[in-house]
């Protein structure tokens, strides 16, 4: 595909949308700078739903971290909980029973499927195809049921704990059979769904060739996850994670870099996730679910990366002498991918540009923070919301 020329700008007017807008899933503001409805530049403005999770975590016992971080996101809650416990497990060298590792992977991959199906539903909603959108949400129900059977909850299954998984997340033979049945049914229905979407000429005319992001731009703008992999950036954190070493599956890399590629990449990833879950259920090792042989103690600053459904997820913190959290940092994939699709939207029609922004699968409440950098002293200061910046520095900089 030929890249559009994104350097020549003739801005006729600005078309701002939001943050109060019924079509936006979360409150954020998009400023389109357009020339006859063709986007010349674009700016996504965050800062209306900052919740101060990192501040809340400061000084909490480490056991409580996963409960709070799980609530960072309602769609990839397991990724946050898992990554939160991975930090302390890495820092204190806590051994994880193999059975627990497998169950963590199962929960993670099922939630990845559910997350990708939300994206597909939302993408279809954005292009105005209600029937496909509703069908995607209907398909998602099978996988939400699996999460419910494993963890006891649909949205926050709370599978991992420090040292393993919760005892209630035991996968019995009966449950294994039920999950496999749901997987078979879900895969069959999803395959038919994908075939229909890809065969629909009207849908394809909307998604093909819009929101182009080259591989070079994806790397330069730090796109992550399926957004980057749809531009042929050959990286997935699962390649680096020991938990995924026992499983055989393909990483999805596409070369087109447009909205269609980002939709198709997630659709194909779902099939790979199903493959992983099947293998994990088949080879599920026997043994304990959790290792309790650890005590909270001083831990130096440690970090952990995980491949959340939307891409690279970073958690890091230190523990003081009493095992309390210090300097908790979370970086969600949206914060980097969003900037890449801002750039990708240039050259699109306004209506297509909204799809391009949605194609990063943005999860905005997870990623909101305000950082003011003093250029002279090169110091930065975190604020909980833009209004605090206004109070301190006034309306004009």
């Amino acid at each position: 595909m030929q890249a559009p020329n994104k350097n020549q700008q003739v801005v006729e007017k600005e078309l701002p949308i939001g943050p109060v807008h019924p079509a936006l899933l979360e409150p954020f503001r998009i400023r389109f700078f357009v020339n006859d409805e063709i986007v010349e530049d674009c700016e996504v403005v965050l800062g209306t739903i900052h919740r101060g999770v990192e501040r809340i975590l400061e000084g909490q016992p480490v056991e409580r971290a996963l409960l709070i971080t799980e609530r960072v996101c309602g769609i990839c809650s397991n990724s946050h909980a898992w990554n939160s416990v991975r930090v302390v497990e890495r820092g204190l060298n806590i051994e994880i029973p193999p059975r627990a590792m497998y169950i963590r992977v199962i929960a993670q991959e099922v939630q990845r499927i559910a997350s990708h199906l939300i994206f597909l539903g939302h993408a279809m909603e954005v292009i105005g195809h209600e029937t496909f959108a509703m069908r995607a949400f209907l398909l998602r129900e099978s996988f939400m049921d699996i999460l419910y059977y494993i963890g006891g909850n649909r949205v926050h299954p709370s599978v991992p704990v420090i040292g393993g998984v919760r005892p209630r997340c035991e996968i019995t033979e009966g449950l294994k059979k039920l999950i496999l049945e749901l997987l078979d049914r879900g895969e069959k229905m999803f395959k038919a769904y994908v075939e229909r979407v890809l065969a629909d000429p009207l849908v394809m005319s909307r998604v093909t060739g819009t929101g182009y992001l080259s591989k070079e731009d994806a790397i330069r703008l730090h796109a992550v996850g399926p957004t980057a992999r749809a531009s042929n950036v050959r990286f997935d954190w699962r390649m680096e994670m020991d938990e995924y070493k026992p499983f055989t599956f393909d990483y999805i890399f596409l070369e087109d870099g447009d909205n269609k590629a980002r939709v198709v990449a997630r659709a194909l990833e779902i099939f790979e996730c199903i493959k992983i879950v099947r293998q994990a259920l088949k080879d599920l090792p026997e043994g304990p679910l959790v290792n309790r042989n650890w005590v909270p103690k001083r831990m130096k600053f440690t970090d952990s990366y995980n491949e959340a459904p939307r891409g690279e997820l970073y958690h890091s913190y230190a523990l003081d002498d009493y095992g309390r959290l210090r300097h908790y940092k979370i970086r969600t994939p949206t914060i980097t991918s969003l900037h890449a699709v801002e750039y990708a939207a240039i050259g699109d029609h306004v209506t297509d540009a909204v799809l391009t922004i949605a194609s990063a699968d943005p999860c905005l409440s997870c990623c909101q923070r305000v950082e003011v950098v003093d250029v002279k002293s090169k110091k930065c200061k975190m604020f909980s919301s833009p209004i605090e910046v206004v109070k301190k520095y006034g309306w004009k900089r």
Binding site: P16, A23, V45
Partner: protein, 341 residues
């Protein structure tokens, strides 16, 4: 036929249009819901009951630059739609030449123009008014002209007037070209000569729909019908995702009820125009059997529209321009063929 009698027929026909409009809206929603494996709302809820519901809501004054003008535009829209219906009624056929292609196309164009007027003055709170944030942040490209997305909708409505709705007008011209006359009465005389007799159930002998060019024109008319009603896939004026409802966004309470009446009655009236021009069955309240047949035949178009909407995304101008050009070509073929043959 006395003037009082003619006026009575017009009032009864307008009442039937209101009734049918309220039913058609519910039928469309039901069809879409069934396709999407949902139960859907009861038939009368999206039409009749929603009108009543909005009638009792608290009135909110819109933020439009000319609020009174904005409010009355939608009321004007209802009158335009009812006038469009009235010019197709048999008692009005002899009145000032309005019962002709001129009257039909004129009122349709006026209806299209109303969307431009609505969008031009509407200014919802959801876009420009939150500007201080951008200045505080020192955001990109400051100092550019800012536009409300309702105004963008008005621009899109203008584009649709310019190109999008041409197929509909080409298709409407076909029955008139077949009759070699600009008058509706001549169109009916060609297709349904029995209508001008004393028969209580005069059926058309040679409807335009059953000719090759009439059939092609019908297809083009249907797409034009969808375009004019701003339904998917041609609802770029109000695609929900970026500029949402467009010019009609700020209609709240009773004005939203008016807006629903406007769009829902329009769905019936355009369908009625189709039945009159392409099937040769006018809306005649003095012949109950013919009236019933007319009302039944107005239902397929909205149902087909609902099916199309359920299986379509919103098209942007990239697709609409090419679709419009293709349909105009088909319509022009039908028009030329009807003139030659």
């Amino acid at each position: 036929m006395s003037v009082l009698f003619s006026r009575g027929i017009c009032v009864i026909s307008a009442s039937i249009a209101l009734l049918m409009g309220s039913v058609i809206a519910g039928m469309e929603r039901k069809v879409q819901a069934r396709i999407q494996q949902r139960i859907g709302p009861p038939i009368l809820t999206p039409g009749f009951w929603s009108w009543l519901k909005f009638y009792y809501k608290k009135k909110v004054r819109p933020l439009a630059t000319a609020p009174s003008f904005y409010i009355w535009t939608v009321v004007l829209g209802i009158f335009v739609v009812l006038l469009l219906l009235i010019v197709t009624l048999p008692p009005v056929w002899g009145f000032l030449g309005l019962a002709s292609i001129l009257g039909v196309v004129g009122f349709l164009k006026l209806e299209e123009l109303l969307y431009v007027l609505m969008g031009s003055v509407s200014q919802s709170i959801m876009s420009v008014p939150l500007f201080p944030w951008d200045i505080v942040r020192g955001g990109k490209v400051l100092g550019t002209r800012r536009e409300f997305f309702e105004q963008q909708s008005a621009l899109r409505a203008l584009k649709m007037i310019g190109l999008g709705s041409i197929p509909l007008y080409v298709a409407i011209a076909v029955p008139f070209a077949m009759a070699k006359s600009p008058y509706i009465s001549d169109v009916i005389r060609l297709q349904n000569p029995a209508f001008f007799t004393e028969s209580i159930f005069p059926l058309p002998s040679s409807p335009a729909f059953f000719t090759v060019y009439g059939f092609f024109a019908s297809i083009v008319f249907f797409i034009g019908y969808v375009i004019l009603l701003n339904d998917k896939p041609f609802n770029i004026i109000k695609p929900k995702i970026d500029i949402m409802e467009g010019g009609t966004l700020e209609y709240g309470a009773i004005y939203r009820a008016y807006m629903y009446i406007f769009s829902q009655v329009m769905a019936f009236v355009l369908s009625s125009v189709y039945v009159t021009l392409f099937l040769g069955i006018p809306l005649d309240v003095t012949r109950p059997a013919l009236l019933a047949l007319h009302l039944v035949l107005t239902l397929p178009l909205p149902i087909f529209k609902a099916v199309l909407a359920a299986f379509s995304p919103v098209l942007t101008f990239r697709q609409i321009y090419s679709a419009s050009a293709g349909l105009t070509a088909i319509g022009a073929f039908a028009l030329i063929a009807s003139l030659i043959i």
